[in-house]
């Protein structure tokens, strides 16, 4: 299997998932974003590594349906209780890694699923959505992440997102970089930017040429490795084509309250700022799919909690449990602020961002080393699932992927199954 040497043929021979039209020249406007009539669907996934305090984060299992009490860990969300649904008894059945809160959260993969490999993953739910929702936006999807993912209990990976081949998708680890990528305008004159794009293309052609000679005589595993390189070039191709489409359009301005971050923000303020950037990215329709692998380590530091996140996660009654509960409350407080923002942001037709967004918030780790009953909260009107509910699944090992499948379908995506899903969560759709 010899990879094709020229970029164009290579693109054409790629799998259909990107479905990229090769845009030959500037001014090819047919692919510019169509005028929007109804606001688009959007999806957000927020993952927080080391789980929660199980005693105080989950609602009382005996009170389900629409009448349930907010537990202490979710109290700061009181004003949104009608709009959030907590689902209990969801889990990824193949996960056995007690310190990996995010690696398989959106994928449901079996680490050992591939013989001859000690690590394997599959595509994450957000990337399925991005394939459909990302065609018309400047950014196909946006991955936000944090420094030192392992310390924050996320496990291997670069963000919550994993591509079709089960490879990690990189994310922006800090709000400053994310801000500039999303909103900083390039002040270079148009002609110069066009020339730059052309040069970038020549650069890609050149390295692909070298890739061609490297590819000669490679065995399967090595070809797979090189394919990652080729994929990254292809991703840039996609981006360049999009840049070309968007070349004469300035980047949108975020709302007035989203300022360019000055200096370093960490922990609580960092998450708050990332949330603001996410809302702004959605509002300006820069992207429609966002994942955020939230920091836990820096959050604790900013809350003056003296324990390492892992140490805290092994809480027992006493200061470590207090710290764990404070973390829960602060995260809920941040989420409540984010929901406020989504509700306050108007779409052109008078509805709000919240009405068209699906937001999932949780972790693959419940608490300590428990991987069952993954903490799961959903909100937003995008997928049409029932909100204001407390659901306890009767099967204590209901696949978490059933939820992802339900949400993807709710967003109008024709997906047959996802990960280890066995069906939809009917109680949510009803």
């Amino acid at each position: 299997m010899k990879p094709n040497l020229t970029r164009r043929r290579f693109l054409r021979s790629s799998s259909a998932l990107i479905a990229l039209p090769v845009l030959e020249s500037l001014g090819f406007k047919a692919f510019a974003a169509p005028k929007l009539i109804t606001p688009p669907k959007r999806m957000i996934f927020l993952g927080f590594g080391w789980g929660v305090t199980k005693e105080t984060w989950f609602p009382d299992k005996t009170k389900t349906g629409a009448t349930w009490d907010l537990p202490a860990g979710l109290k700061p969300l009181a004003r949104h209780q009608k709009d959030i649904t907590v689902v209990q008894n969801l889990a990824n059945r193949f996960t056995n890694e007690a310190h990996w809160g995010s690696t398989f959260w959106l994928t449901g993969a079996n680490r050992y699923g591939e013989p001859g490999q000690s690590f394997h993953n599959s595509v994450s739910a957000d990337q399925i959505a991005a394939e459909a929702f990302g065609r018309d936006t400047r950014f196909t999807s946006l991955q936000l992440s944090c420094e030192n993912g392992e310390e924050s209990g996320h496990g291997p990976g670069l963000s919550l997102a994993w591509d079709r081949r089960g490879k990690p998708v990189a994310g922006f680890n800090n709000p400053v970089v994310a801000f500039h990528r999303l909103f900083s305008d390039d002040t270079t004159p148009l002609a110069q930017r066009q020339a730059l794009l052309k040069q970038k293309r020549s650069v890609l052609d050149t390295v692909l040429d070298d890739a061609g000679s490297v590819a000669r005589g490679l065995g399967k595993e090595d070809s797979d490795k090189l394919a990652e390189y080729l994929q990254s070039i292809r991703d840039i191709e996609v981006r360049l084509s999009k840049d070309e489409q968007w070349l004469d359009r300035p980047k949108p301005r975020p709302g007035n309250d989203v300022m360019e971050p000055k200096g370093e923000v960490a922990g609580y303020e960092e998450i708050k700022l990332m949330y603001a950037l996410m809302a702004a990215a959605m509002q300006t329709d820069s992207t429609r799919v966002v994942t955020y692998r939230q920091p836990v380590s820096s959050l604790l530091k900013s809350l003056k909690i003296p324990f390492s996140p892992h140490n805290m996660s092994h809480y027992g009654p006493g200061p470590r449990m207090d710290a764990s509960q404070l973390r829960d409350a602060k995260q809920s407080e941040l989420l409540a602020g984010f929901i406020d923002r989504l509700k306050a942001t108007k779409e052109p037709d008078g509805s709000t961002l919240f009405d068209h967004t699906t937001l999932a918030y949780g972790s693959n780790i419940q608490s300590i080393h428990y991987l069952d009953n993954c903490p799961t909260l959903i909100t937003g009107g995008g997928s049409g699932v029932k909100l204001g509910q407390h659901l306890v699944m009767s099967d204590p090992k209901t696949p978490l992927c059933n939820l992802w499948l339900t949400l993807l379908r709710g967003n109008g995506l024709d997906v047959a199954s996802h990960g280890d899903s066995t069906g939809l969560i009917k109680e949510l759709v009803a």
Partner: protein, 847 residues
């Protein structure tokens, strides 16, 4: 020598073949466990009554497929979580359950390893972050900050394992950008002049005097204003601009500050130098803010420094730090210097440092000291916390500080320097092509680029010329593309149809070089590869010796040890400076360095690996000697020092870093330490922490000894299966506190627990290995471990194979590991023999 390596090669052909044919051992549960299943499982999970759609009466006892392993994994998880057998069903007795769980966990580890065995296949890999940085440095003579590149490794492997080194579009663009930046710097550095500047720190004294006068004047007017009634509207009359100023005033704060300044400024030593006095939160710092336009490159600081008389020797250390580029309070520790000269005859110390593109330019000098993070008032601090003048008064006197640089002239000292001058004045594209070809050949580690690739690069160059750029500028575009090309970023060893083959000489040079230097091959290696000499066993062995002797092998030592011994734990937490006050940044850095330096000493001097288990010498510097209470070691160089009689030091278990890793920054953790010893020193790793095992936390708020608290681990089979092996070893190391200092007693108290009183006890380190010998104390425990060097050697060898070959260690590597250990054993476990044997093996020379 010659003769020995020839014989080795002969042997190798044999094991090479044997190992390729060797069967991977099968993971299998012993038939005797069928009785356990019959008694507790198959009543519900049989052919007729497949409860939960699970049938176990026909379960395969061979875990030889992913599906079979997954079924056993589910059984393990169910029993671990206490869900099975159900509460109302017959329960196994504790010991039977513990043994069953123990066997099953271990069998599953074997099954996963066996099913995941790559069977010797080495996946092509890209340079990892460390290697990329070193490669750019060797190529262009420029140090680059690469921390923004994604971190490597993960999933429990080394950062050299190809299968877990990924690539993304962002990363590709980063490579392009970093490569371009490095070229810019390299070209620029070749032309700069070395500068030198000296700072006399006493020049700040007049400013401090003025500050004191202002403070006193403010206070005088504040007192007058108060005497006049203290009305806010009167403030302007007394020279205050608003009530904010007045509100911020307090007599006690003024008192503290005033006293401090008066005392300090009265010191005669300030005539021609500066004393690093203590203030509330830390010692006084001298921060050198270097000009923004100073070129990047290698520099040196020189500090003329002396000691105040009759001060404690443990305080005679100067710390050198770098401020964070974002100018927040964070600093990065760079180095520590042991000061031995008296103030009357100060000494000049040198601190080399680099200015990297977009990196920090602010550098700090201060006394080595723990930072007290709690808010004491200044007066309170000097009066109560540091009562003793010997703790409080300044110890370091700085005469002057100077910097000089850039010293290296960057590009000028790099291998490509010889090409670059050609750029000056060169005009036409033939010269550009020649330059590009030479550069790419070097960047591709001796492999010439394909003509088509060069053709395109020249086109890029021409496009830049056409855009109006000069030769020097235009040439950088194609060169930076070379630095993002696959042939540069990937270590390629193409193997047609995946069939094993011998490496070419150039490939061998590259593999060897990235193994021992984490950097590309130098001219000597490339030369030997080109002449076909390198593959000769004697030449290869000689090169290994040369490479180990080189300073560049430090990259192997730190890169390998950091990952092998899981030393990232040292950075997991902020050490609580109230509990372990002396374990501050510079001691922590020296403690980490001790692990590396000890290993490097064994490797370079050809000493035994067994010294890591027990040794009558340590490899330390003045700072660590002071921390360990070992006399007569002065200066910053690490060197071999005899362990005093009765000292617990010597070997990994005597090192502060190892014990600090086995803590949570505050208290020692017998579980972490015991598991680490099992994993690293005895090579009997416990299975990974299982999910869903009920955690016992009910004892957290009780005043109990550590042993009493952890006794709960033995109650439940789910816990006991591993903790019966882990905990006793950890208890045997309890004489070391959270920062590796020796202690004989411990105490427990928890803040925020009502009615709790501090519990104190004497440490009892005695115990026994599970199903093994007893030990009465730490020394005997260490002896028992040191008595089995072959187990340690085996674990070390497996890690070395994985690191060097860049693929997970698998069962199919067992003959190789056995052979290497056998070779090493014959040499008394000489560390260098392990490396030599691995390099000499067929596996190292084949793909």
């Amino acid at each position: 020598m010659h003769h020995r390596w020839h014989r080795l090669l002969f042997l190798l052909t044999f094991i090479g073949t044997a190992s390729r044919a060797a069967d991977t051992p099968q993971a299998r549960m012993d038939e005797k466990h069928r009785a356990f299943l019959r008694s507790y499982c198959t009543e519900c999970h049989n052919a007729n009554k497949q409860k939960g759609k699970v049938r176990l009466d026909d379960v395969s006892f061979a875990l030889d497929t992913v599906q079979r392993a997954d079924l056993w994994q589910r059984m393990l998880n169910q029993i671990n979580s206490g869900e099975m057998p159900p509460e109302d069903a017959k329960q196994p007795d504790k010991l039977a359950k513990t043994d069953f769980l123990d066997t099953l966990s271990r069998t599953l580890v074997v099954a996963r390893k066996s099913l995941g065995d790559v069977r010797g296949k080495i996946t092509m890999r890209r340079l990892n972050r460390r290697e990329y940085k070193n490669t750019i440095r060797d190529l262009l003579g420029v140090e680059m900050d690469v921390r923004d590149l994604p971190a490597d490794g993960g999933a429990g492997t080394f950062d050299t394992v190809g299968a877990s080194l990924f690539m993304s579009s962002d990363q590709f663009e980063q490579y392009l950008a970093i490569g371009r930046r490095a070229l810019d710097e390299s070209f620029a550095q070749a032309q700069v002049q070395t500068q030198k500047k000296r700072f006399e720190p006493e020049t700040i004294v007049p400013g401090m005097k003025r500050a004191l006068e202002r403070m006193n004047d403010d206070h005088r007017r504040f007192t007058e204003w108060k005497a006049a009634g203290g009305k806010p509207e009167d403030l302007p009359k007394f020279g205050f601009r608003g009530d904010a100023t007045a509100a911020g005033f307090s007599d006690s704060i003024w008192q503290g500050n005033h006293e401090w300044y008066e005392r300090y400024l009265a010191r005669p030593e300030l005539q021609n130098g500066l004393l690093l006095e203590n203030t509330m939160n830390e010692t006084m710092q001298i921060a050198m803010d270097l000009p923004k336009d100073l070129p990047t490159g290698d520099y040196v600081f020189r500090v003329n420094v002396g000691l105040m008389p009759d001060m404690p020797t443990k305080r005679a250390f100067l710390s050198f730090l770098q401020a964070s580029p974002l100018d927040k309070a964070d600093t990065t520790f760079l180095a520590s210097r042991h000061i031995t000269a008296p103030l009357a005859k100060p000494q000049v110390i040198e601190l080399p440092f680099s200015i990297v593109p977009d990196g920090p330019r602010k550098f700090i000098f201060m006394e080595k000291r723990s930072l007290y993070t709690h808010g004491f008032s200044l007066a309170g601090f000097t009066k109560t916390i540091l009562k003793d003048p010997k703790d409080r008064d300044p110890v370091l006197w700085i005469d002057w500080v100077e910097w000089e640089g850039p010293l290296n002239k960057g590009g000028a000292s790099s291998p490509v320097a010889s090409l670059l001058p050609a750029a000056n004045g060169a005009k036409d594209r033939n010269q550009a092509r020649a330059l590009i070809e030479k550069f790419a050949t070097r960047a591709f580690r001796g492999n010439p680029p394909e003509p088509e690739f060069v053709y395109r690069l020249v086109k890029l160059f021409e496009a830049r010329i056409k855009a109006g750029e000069k030769f020097d500028e235009a040439i950088k575009t194609p060169l930076s593309v070379v630095l993002a090309a696959p042939a540069f970023l990937y270590l390629q060893e193409p193997a047609t149809d995946g069939k094993p083959r011998l490496l070419t000489d150039l490939e061998l040079a590259t593999r060897l070089s990235y193994f021992l230097w984490s950097a590309p091959p130098d001219d000597t290696l490339l030369g030997l590869a080109r002449s076909g000499e390198l593959k000769k066993p004697a030449v290869l062995a000689q090169q290994v010796d040369r490479m180990i002797a080189s300073e560049k092998s430090s990259a192997f030592v730190s890169g390998f040890l950091h990952q092998w011994l899981t030393m990232e734990r040292l950075d997991f937490f902020q050490f609580n400076t109230q509990n372990v006050a002396d374990f501050e940044t510079s001691v922590k850095a020296a403690a980490r360095q001790e692990v590396y330096e000890t290993f490097a000493h064994l490797l370079r001097s050809g000493d035994s690996l067994g010294r890591l288990l027990k040794s009558d010498f340590v490899v330390i510097n003045g700072l660590l000697a002071s921390y360990y209470g070992i006399e007569g070691v002065s200066g910053d160089a690490f060197r071999k020092v005899k362990v005093p009689a009765g000292s617990p030091r010597g070997g990994l278990l005597g090192m502060a870093a190892i014990h600090a890793m086995g803590s949570n920054g505050e208290r020692s953790s017998p579980v972490e330490r015991g598991a680490w010893v099992l994993r690293k020193l005895i090579n009997e790793p416990p299975p990974p922490a299982p999910p869903n095992v009920p955690q016992l936390t009910r004892l957290e708020a009780k005043a109990l000894t550590t042993r009493e608290r952890l006794a709960a681990h033995q109650e439940e089979p789910q816990c006991a299966q591993c903790h019966r092996k882990i905990d006793p070893i950890g208890f045997g190391l309890e004489n070391f506190d959270a920062a590796g200092q020796w202690r004989t007693g411990d105490s427990y108290w928890k803040r925020g627990v009502p009615g709790m009183r501090e519990k104190k006890w004497d440490i009892d380190p005695s115990g026994a290995f599970f199903n093994g010998p007893t030990f009465k104390d730490y020394f005997e425990l260490r002896d028992r471990i040191a008595a089995r060097p072959e187990k340690f050697a085996r674990g070390f060898t497996e890690a070395l194979i994985e690191y060097a070959l860049g693929r997970p260690y698998g069962f199919s590597d067992e003959p190789l590991a056995e052979w290497i250990v056998g070779q090493a054993k014959g040499s008394g476990y000489n560390v260098r023999t392990f490396v030599q044997a691995l390099v000499a093996s067929q596996h190292f020379k084949a793909k």
